[in-house]
């Protein structure tokens, strides 16, 4: 297996982008990444694009071909593949790109992720997102996607004493970080009271415990480390790329206060990278709901199981804390265009490791981690990156 590096990144602004189509989002993120890497179109050997539900959000499948056309690469006839794993589609696309380069099959690979979520109206987006859960045995009976995370939240609160305020503190922290990120959907601070006074979506989760509906795209360019030097001095090596899966339905899992797939992916990623949780300088984790970040920092080994709420309250994961988590604002404040999220997390970590994160820069960050989850934990992808 060859060593793989990220040599370019690019992403659109995240938000309700009424003026931009799916095509334009894909083009914008892709072009930025290609310019950042300094590669030419003919250097590209393959493309992988993550999209959760393009068929239902914009009535368009076959978006691999669409991405190729948008990039103007049809004369090269390179393979362009759409990858789907619900909200982990972007992370899995990264993993596929990593495998393609590490194996020696391809040299330069473009990984993208995109979702256009605001072209549907009313409750349709909620219904589409519910397809990340088990349609026959969860959604059919009235369980919503926030509802499944609410079951996790109540369970965690009951067994570990996590409080509603501690959940809210995740959103407060991530909104603070988002206020420092010019690409974030929400660039404003909120208070614990704001979260607790926002409408209830699925008890105990309030509206401000939930990530929003977002349009956006992100891209990353991968290359073998030895070839990467030809293009850039700012080489960010992928020390680990691990995907792990579990049952589709939440009720069939072995644990309810943890995502076993994420625990498994993290363990394998630390082994692959030869690092410990305490070596991580900065992390982007999948905070689709506030409880998800609390469970994530436990599953990743940053804190013991059950201590995630308290650690958040004590500032462990704040921008100036011991392990800053979701410096970008996370899914909560940066926004969560489902298929793009896994690649957007890579964008943030690469910026941090290059020292380009401006007001939200973690000083001296050299090792970063991303944690991307599909559905209620049916898929988890962990990447560990290092500046070399």
């Amino acid at each position: 297996m060859r060593e793989v590096a990220v040599i370019g990144i690019g992403m659109t602004e995240f938000g309700e982008l009424w003026q931009k189509s799916f095509r334009e989002l894909v083009a914008e993120a892709g072009v930025k990444a290609i310019l950042d890497a300094g590669i030419e179109g003919e250097d590209i050997d393959a493309m992988y694009i993550g999209g959760m539900s393009t068929g239902r959000f914009i009535g368009q499948e076959h978006v691999g071909s669409l991405a190729l056309e948008v990039a103007g690469l049809e004369d090269l006839h390179i393979p362009a593949t759409r990858v789907e794993a619900a909200c982990a589609s972007g992370g899995v696309a990264m993993h596929q790109g990593y495998i393609a380069v590490a194996s020696g099959m391809y040299d330069i690979v473009v990984v993208g992720g995109a979702e256009k979520m605001t072209d549907v109206v009313g409750g349709e987006a909620t219904n589409i997102l519910a397809s990340a859960a088990d349609r026959e045995w969860e959604s059919f009976f009235g369980a919503t996607f926030p509802g499944l995370y609410a079951l996790m939240a109540r369970y965690h609160m009951h067994h570990h004493g996590t409080t509603q305020e501690q959940l809210a503190m995740v959103a407060v922290k991530n909104h603070h970080n988002g206020s420092l990120n010019p690409k974030a959907q929400f660039r404003r601070e909120i208070s614990v009271e704001d979260v607790l006074n926002s409408p209830i979506v699925a008890e105990p989760l309030h509206l401000l415990d939930c990530s929003p509906i977002t349009d956006g795209a992100a891209a990353a360019i991968l290359a073998p480390v030895d070839i990467a030097r030809k293009y850039t001095d700012k080489i960010i090596k992928i020390k680990a790329s691990v995907q792990a899966c579990d049952t589709l339905s939440f009720h069939s899992r072995s644990r309810f206060d943890s995502l076993p797939a994420a625990v498994h992916a993290a363990k394998k990623a630390y082994e692959m990278a030869g690092v410990k949780p305490s070596d991580i300088d900065v992390a982007e984790v999948h905070d689709c709901f506030t409880i998800a970040e609390i469970i994530a920092i436990e599953d990743l080994g940053f804190v013991e199981k059950g201590k995630g709420g308290k650690a958040t309250e004590e500032g462990l994961t704040a921008l100036d804390g011991q392990i800053p988590v979701n410096t970008s604002g996370g899914l909560k404040a940066k926004g969560h265009p489902v298929g793009a999220t896994g690649v957007a997390q890579i964008n943030e970590i690469v910026m941090q490791l290059r020292g380009e994160a401006d007001k939200r820069q973690v000083k001296g960050a050299t090792i970063g981690l991303t944690h991307n989850v599909g559905g209620s934990g049916g898929t988890a992808v962990v990447h560990i990156l290092e500046a070399i």
């Binding site: 909620t126 919503t144 079951l151 009951h158 699925a202 009720h251 069939s252 309810f256």
Partner: protein
């Protein structure tokens, strides 16, 4: 949605018929084709098994923002329920005040209307749960 998709799940949804692995004796609901413990040995050895319908609430939520099919039904309770046989499932809790629901509550299955396919489509039935008698 075609009616067949609903019709083929009727045994499980009306009568809580899951599967029991003949090799290890573990009961699965929703039904599974392969026992994840015995895997190859369980092929062809998964027998129909009717659950008692009795279980315990392990966690629950009150849904205030429902999907379109449940429009007008909110707020309603969804629970993670551990069945007597050891398997878990997801279902609504009905016939009680929402604030009576708690972790550890004993429940039993009841047969109810779940949703309908628009105003003219099929009405879908299945299990919900209520406070257990005893």
């Amino acid at each position: 949605m075609g009616v067949a998709r609903y019709w083929r799940e009727i045994p499980a949804r009306y009568n809580l018929i899951g599967k029991k692995c003949e090799i290890c004796g573990k009961v699965y609901f929703p039904p599974r084709t392969i026992c994840p413990k015995c895997r190859r040995k369980s092929i062809g050895k998964m027998q129909d098994y009717k659950l008692s319908g009795k279980g315990t609430v392990e966690s629950y939520t009150i849904i205030y923002t429902p999907p379109p099919e449940f429009e007008g039904k909110a707020p309603y309770a969804i629970a993670l329920i551990k069945m007597e046989e050891g398997c878990y499932l997801t279902g609504q809790i009905v016939d009680c005040k929402l604030d009576e629901i708690h972790i550890g509550m004993k429940v039993e299955a009841c047969f109810r209307r779940i949703q309908e396919d628009g105003k003219r489509g099929a009405i879908y039935y299945g299990y919900k749960f209520r406070k257990a008698e005893s």
